[in-house]
Amino acid sequence: MSELSLRGENLHLWRGERHVLRGLGLEVAAGEVLQVTGANGAGKTTLLRALCGMLYLEEGRIVWNGVNVRDDMPAFHGALTYLGHEPPLKADLTASENLRYWVGLRRRLEPARIASALESVGVPGVASELVRTLSAGQKRRVALAALPLLSVPLWLLDEPTTNLDTEGQKLVGSLIERHIRAGGLAVAAVHHEIFVSPQHLRRLELSKS
């Protein structure tokens, strides 16, 4: 019970008229990252959103540390962070303000930590620039900087490497690696290779219905 774990059992879900998830099962334990792959439209985004409770499951259940998440949604939400296709940044706030308000909802934060987080994702210079003026990849990096700051055990990442250059794609790998080494767990939908050591990596291939 003290080990963190996420399990999905017999997940069924329709989007519109499409039966996207059909009896899917998955399991991730602390120290592991589950890479979800599959062709475009296979249901990766759907799966991630269902895992964090934003899509209604027709059947099946999601179990976090042995407890059905329906029974204590706030606790589950408090333990996870979800990063979708679009980085959730306010265009009219600066990068560091964005992090302050986003992370500040969950953790007290010293400003110094924000600065060092931005530096660790390779955009030290943008702290006081409006997100509106950042390039696509810079925006993505700012969003990634929030992950370690939040210090929650479960990361659900939907194509976190979008718009990143090759160096940035390695960065995502090392962020995840550091997280799972510290006992966290992650589910990531990524098309190409994730740069983490293979013993931590598990794969789930979704096939198109």
Binding site: H12, W14, G16, L55, Y56, E58, E59
Partner: protein
């Protein structure tokens, strides 16, 4: 043990079969009663001493207005039941009520306006009851708009149910406004505490109309309910059985 009936009530397959079976038992009596009431109202009832033959409009106006309120009450009660007991079927009932209620609210407004022209000399007045009947139409539209803008029926159910419950305050306002404010509109003469205040040959067709429309409402509701249940139930094996029949 005593609650089994309640659980059966919450079971979609049971309700689906029940609805299929009951529909004709409401539809045909409704048709007969409405036709009889039409004859009674248009032919048998004597002209009103004040309003002449114009009063016969009440035989359509009052049922429409009655439907607008009764359907909303059903909607709100079903919504509350759904929110409290998390009963799928109750949400389905609520969702089925809305289009019916909205259309009859519109009809009540239009027939009321046609009624108003000869009786009050104007199609419309900003009288509390009339205004809040219009507001009721907006509430129905808001409810339907809210429902249709969710992709996910479960969320749509819960969000719109809350709106339905909050919006219910409008119903007593409409019903009692004629008593609270002295208004143009006629105070309730049938649906009041105590004895009705109109003559019997006029009253009987009116009562029959109200009864006929109520039965009609139940029949339509049952048909719509089946559609709603089918739309919600994706997994059960009885689906096959249901659509084959």
């Amino acid at each position: 043990m005593t609650w089994t009936w309640f659980h059966r009530l919450g079971s979609p397959p049971h309700i689906y079969r029940l609805a299929t079976r009951l529909t004709p038992w409401f539809a045909w009596p409704a048709a007969l009663i409405i036709v009889a009431a039409l004859y009674g109202g248009l032919v048998l009832a004597p002209p009103d001493y004040q309003q002449g033959d114009g009063f016969r409009m009440v035989y359509v106006h009052a049922p429409c207005a009655w439907m607008s309120l009764m359907v909303y009450t059903t909607l709100a009660v079903a919504s509350a039941v759904g929110l409290i007991w998390r009963m799928k079927v109750a949400y389905a009932v609520a969702a089925s009520c809305a289009p019916i209620g909205a259309s009859f609210t519109a009809a009540a407004l239009m027939t009321g306006m046609l009624f108003g022209r000869p009786m009050w000399g104007t199609y419309w007045a900003w009288d509390p009851q009339l205004t809040f009947e219009l507001v009721l139409l907006f509430i129905y539209l808001g409810y339907m708009g809210l429902r249709s803008s969710f992709d996910d029926p479960q969320r749509a159910d819960r969000a719109s149910s809350m709106l339905a419950v909050v919006g219910f305050i409008d119903v007593p306002i409409i019903h009692f406004s004629t008593t609270w404010w002295n208004s143009l509109h006629q105070a309730p003469s049938v649906l009041r505490f105590g004895k009705p205040t109109i003559a019997l040959p006029m009253l009987i067709p009116l009562l029959m109309m109200l009864l006929g429309f109520t039965l009609y409402f139940v029949a339509i509701l049952l048909v719509r309910l089946r559609g709603e249940i089918l739309r919600r139930e994706r997994s059960a094996s009885w689906l096959r059985e249901a659509i084959v029949s």
